[in-house]
Symmetry: C5
Subunit: 350 residues, 5 copies
Amino acid sequence: MKFPKSILCIFILFVSVQLFARQHHTISTEKEPLEVSVNLRINKIYNINSVQETYQIDGYFMYTWKNEEAISYLKDSTANSIVFENDKARELINSDLWIPAFELINVQGSREVPNIRIEIYSDGIIEYEERFFATCSTNMDFKKFPFDSQVYQVAIEAFSYGSKKIVFTNPKLFLEKDHEDYLGEDWEFVNSDAHVVTKTYKYMDDSINSEKNSYSRVIFEIKAQRLSGYYEWQVLFPLLIIILASFSIFWIKEFGSQIGVGFTLMLTVVAFNFYSASILPKLPYNTFIEYVIIVGYIFIFLGIVAVIINHRINGEEDKGDKIPLLKYFRYLFPIVYALIMIVLYMSLIV
Amino acid sequence: MKFPKSILCIFILFVSVQLFARQHHTISTEKEPLEVSVNLRINKIYNINSVQETYQIDGYFMYTWKNEEAISYLKDSTANSIVFENDKARELINSDLWIPAFELINVQGSREVPNIRIEIYSDGIIEYEERFFATCSTNMDFKKFPFDSQVYQVAIEAFSYGSKKIVFTNPKLFLEKDHEDYLGEDWEFVNSDAHVVTKTYKYMDDSINSEKNSYSRVIFEIKAQRLSGYYEWQVLFPLLIIILASFSIFWIKEFGSQIGVGFTLMLTVVAFNFYSASILPKLPYNTFIEYVIIVGYIFIFLGIVAVIINHRINGEEDKGDKIPLLKYFRYLFPIVYALIMIVLYMSLIV
Amino acid sequence: MKFPKSILCIFILFVSVQLFARQHHTISTEKEPLEVSVNLRINKIYNINSVQETYQIDGYFMYTWKNEEAISYLKDSTANSIVFENDKARELINSDLWIPAFELINVQGSREVPNIRIEIYSDGIIEYEERFFATCSTNMDFKKFPFDSQVYQVAIEAFSYGSKKIVFTNPKLFLEKDHEDYLGEDWEFVNSDAHVVTKTYKYMDDSINSEKNSYSRVIFEIKAQRLSGYYEWQVLFPLLIIILASFSIFWIKEFGSQIGVGFTLMLTVVAFNFYSASILPKLPYNTFIEYVIIVGYIFIFLGIVAVIINHRINGEEDKGDKIPLLKYFRYLFPIVYALIMIVLYMSLIV
Amino acid sequence: MKFPKSILCIFILFVSVQLFARQHHTISTEKEPLEVSVNLRINKIYNINSVQETYQIDGYFMYTWKNEEAISYLKDSTANSIVFENDKARELINSDLWIPAFELINVQGSREVPNIRIEIYSDGIIEYEERFFATCSTNMDFKKFPFDSQVYQVAIEAFSYGSKKIVFTNPKLFLEKDHEDYLGEDWEFVNSDAHVVTKTYKYMDDSINSEKNSYSRVIFEIKAQRLSGYYEWQVLFPLLIIILASFSIFWIKEFGSQIGVGFTLMLTVVAFNFYSASILPKLPYNTFIEYVIIVGYIFIFLGIVAVIINHRINGEEDKGDKIPLLKYFRYLFPIVYALIMIVLYMSLIV
Amino acid sequence: MKFPKSILCIFILFVSVQLFARQHHTISTEKEPLEVSVNLRINKIYNINSVQETYQIDGYFMYTWKNEEAISYLKDSTANSIVFENDKARELINSDLWIPAFELINVQGSREVPNIRIEIYSDGIIEYEERFFATCSTNMDFKKFPFDSQVYQVAIEAFSYGSKKIVFTNPKLFLEKDHEDYLGEDWEFVNSDAHVVTKTYKYMDDSINSEKNSYSRVIFEIKAQRLSGYYEWQVLFPLLIIILASFSIFWIKEFGSQIGVGFTLMLTVVAFNFYSASILPKLPYNTFIEYVIIVGYIFIFLGIVAVIINHRINGEEDKGDKIPLLKYFRYLFPIVYALIMIVLYMSLIV
């Protein structure tokens, strides 16, 4: 399988040239970093998962910057701009026009990008827009759960270019105002924010002050308040009824019934305990709802202890009570419980 | 690795030309927007998920428009039309014939598209058809659950071209009528609709009235009624039996049994409570089924309170009742419960 | 960036020609539709999901047809046939030899196709074979569950070509006979079938009788009987024991125990109720197993009512029964229950 | 859009030639089948799922065969071998060197292949290696569960070439011996095996004896013993304690307590019943653990029947027992239970 | 379809040459292995799954090595380095510059790589960086659960090149120190480590000492301590309260209540048993939390046995206790339980 050397050369050339041709334009502005303005329009925040502290975002990113070289792409066209969609856009990114890659920082896995649009305007403005679906995560504070607010965040950086090469400017966050439930029915929008920070790593270069370690980052934030209706009616209300019912043991005279009721209610609180375990992550601290459950445990336990003590002191047939312990407990337990609940609620406001 | 400059030029040229060649035809009609008619045939709506308010759609989109330039593609052919399937269709989209991208608005993640067909007719009509599988979402109203109806929606827009460039006309929705259970066995079709609206964003351009912010949107809607048989027999019927059984405590004379029954039934209602929590999202409002459960809680709680009060007043051995409280409760409780249930059912009709 | 027009032309040409070259052979037989014979070999039906009414199929499709043009592909070869695997096959499909796309109708999402083989024989026969994994769905009838049979179906159509262009002939279905458990251990094969029908849509063309609306469809069907051992021993047997045990309340003299047992058993039936809810979809009708559970609810409820009535009539200490109600119930309840069960079982046979 | 015919020809040629060039080398040995030796190194077997009877395999396949034609690929190189990784390997497969596709038979869905290596040695040996992740399935026999052993299998065939073209030789199976828990912590390796069989289908050709229906298959097998510690301590031990506790009803004199304990324990066995249902598939036969549970049901049921019979015979106050039934039961029940358990354990050994 | 042989030759040549051109540079250093230094920056370790012993890692790999040949890629550029992102980087890998593939050893499935950067510096340094998301697994030791520490590991090898060709040097592990909860809220960082080992297989070559069987491996390790707050408050605390409450049976005089309480609490411990089964894998050994539960079972069982024995000895009405067994048990049980708990806690420290 022999063949003239010259043809071989041409092909080796071909491969090499392609690479050269594509790369040597990458950055034209050596002195000043490129200014990229970012718009984020959020269509929906969905699948908010309190257990994994994640949420999925359906939105649109629009990056805009200026590159004089791009003008040549519409030289022949009479239109004001030229649009590259999807595969055509991907081909453009892979050509010799420099279009940098941006990455989501607080994402889990790759984002899905069903559609891309790159539009080049006659003044050299390049608009890169994508619709994306991403699973993001933030650290959530559940101490006041289910009366908590959370901050949903999206953070972006350029993947390969530090703040010496690319800086973000003028970030804007849009929310579909007419599309009322963009946050799901159980969250209420509080406020939103978008700002640019500079993030310093010590990973890229050994000297921490090196310019290589410095990146421009945009942070979009949406603060929302949980609508607690579900937890109030499905968890707190039944729990309250059960704790209230547990105080009935001091109005029962028969010792057997007192004990039976006490232990049945303890089993019920265990059920609520396991339920609350299934809706929250395995937190090292206790949430409001867990304090309510723990207080429930303790009161039912103390109730059982109280009736046993009363039983030991006053005998099985409590007709002629020597010490009217039960009568004291009838008022003591609800009052102390009410006080603790008030303190717990107060702690929510602080 | 030297090589003549001229060859280098040819290859740079090659890359550039390809892009030019492909792009400069994009829109031939500058004055009038392109009219695209849309057909949606739904094969099946499946995995209707009440907890996440999503449903999956297996269907076919058919977009039809006219482009005189396309006629050149069948110049040599004697046939009336030419078909491009799958990879060939994708190649055609990536060529210099302008085929715009459409996007689903209320989708979650990318849609799956196993098959694409582009057919070009000898009169310049272009037919783009795809089979798709998409997970869509709508805001569902569960206030009357499980006697609710829901509207399943599919909304489409052109991704890159506003209403100045593309407008939708003549949307049609087809449902597989012979394929009876296209909605699953637990939903009954009520009616369907397809209409075109103009959606205005303020994201693309800072001035809200800019033409860039205006997009043509097609909305397909299918209204369906939930078949509530499952919930009637598996949730409401057992609950009713349990509440009925709870009224038996007023027919029991022994105080211990009264109390024991009351608390056992409360535990049972807790089980129904957790079950209803697993089939619905964490709504800030209460559904019909949850009202039934909450009323159940309250009646069982009040029943316990009632027997304790009776016990306190009439003593442990209620042979000679001083006040026949239990006898009053025997009729009072069922009547009040029936009244409340009637009011709840009435609220469904309104 | 100037360059000679002639070279530009060549490249524009190149792109256009490729498309021409590939398309103008698509259908060589204008008068007669192409006859495609289909073989389906099923390796395994797995993950049979009664809740979503889906099942996954691991199988092989083999489509065979004749195309004289294909003979040119082995002109130089001395072999009897030439094989194109995977990427090579995909390239062949994308070349100018016409290989149509087939679609699964009752599928959910795209099928996975790990391997493709296209073999061209010297007599112009083309064999297209693929291994596939697909999630299919059918409407299942659970009225007799867990003593039901189901029909697992696979339906195929050509995606782009109506029955005027492609008709299926001679469909054959193969099952791995030596691979005993191809249906899972809990299903027993009854029979199988494969037939061709013509399906008419009204979607492709407005006039319903248009040839465009008519497609050839192959339907493969496997009927299987559920092996009910699991449900008999894990659900029906415990339920039966519990209902039997519930009749013990008529042998107990003490009213408190009667009531306690009655309500404990009701709670147990609730547990079975929730279990049966987790293995079946939310059906608007009741299955056999649910009838058994509902009858269980009713009998336990009636048992409670019966002992209360007996208690009211005969007093707390039933030493000298005025009316021997309990003695009647002891025989009445089991006999009526047995009769109802017999009727339910009879309804399975019809 | 006219252009000289000659150029058109060149391009049509180009497309056709590519296909020719690539295919006509496919099989060089017409008389003797190609001998392919297979190595499988298993890194880990994980996510062993008893409910779906699947397990995931993380491993490396290495196929080795000899093809003199491949030598030309290192003509210019002075090295002993040449390596093609990932995309380069995929390109090589798609070139004119014949590299057949192999398929996993007992797989569910496509396998993931993160890395491929093809190495061509100077003596014409071709080594194809891939790391793969696959979900495999086998029929598992749970009759002795949780004291069962299972055989984890991996079966391979050439996808397109029957045993006339490709035969496997010398299969070897390697397990990471130093990587102790390659099977997970709850399985203990027993032995492994690798052998070649010939599998006959009747699918490829109508005549069953046709050579087309015969394929060479390699079967790798790993036999492992379940470490039952978890089930012994979390299921069997609590069950045993509960059954033991149930015999206490014969030591209790009070009839009400006897009945109450009996029914509470029945409810507990229901809980274990549902738990065992969640860890095993819906088998038509009973496993060891299910026999233990069913025997538990029966003994508790018989215990309840026994105390009721005793109660009917000996009256409510059993001070002066006429027939000392309870005393007999005290010893009869545990002895019979022990005997049945011994028989069950014996059946494990057989 | 005839055509001149010469043109055919050129195209065959074309395909062949491409492959030659790409491969014959692969390894330039025949004598010394290539030294590759590895940096791993971990952004987040999330979805730590104790049941499957897996965790997901969101991080950045940076591989750096020197290759003089790469300098030619920036010959024309005045910049200090040249960046290839994503598709451009993939194209570079597929070109004739040698960039080896690295694989994660303890991974499950392929890693996701949303962004790749290859930077070539003017001194021939090549920097390969990727962001990745991978599901890794390690063998976890749960004996001290929930007071355990675990070592999260990431192990890397070159896929195709043994330690004769590639050796790793200077591995560094970076953790986002300012991003406090990189390990999730329920884990506390203890220490980290990175080291290089040589791994020997016997899979590549039959002779175990062959150089082919030896690979350089980098192991990154992060040791973390579980924050046990959740388990203390949601599992151990309720369990402790329940066991404490179980000792109340010795303070109750009535035998019926003693028995009822005992069995109700046994049911509650069964619930905790099933809960602990859902948060841990099916281990052949018992964890700390399971020992606590098993001890709970045994104490409640012994408590039931104790009250029955007492009842048998001292009669139903225990007014005049012959032997004050209950009084002994009142102190014996809590003391023994406390001792066992202390021993269990002590075993954690050892």
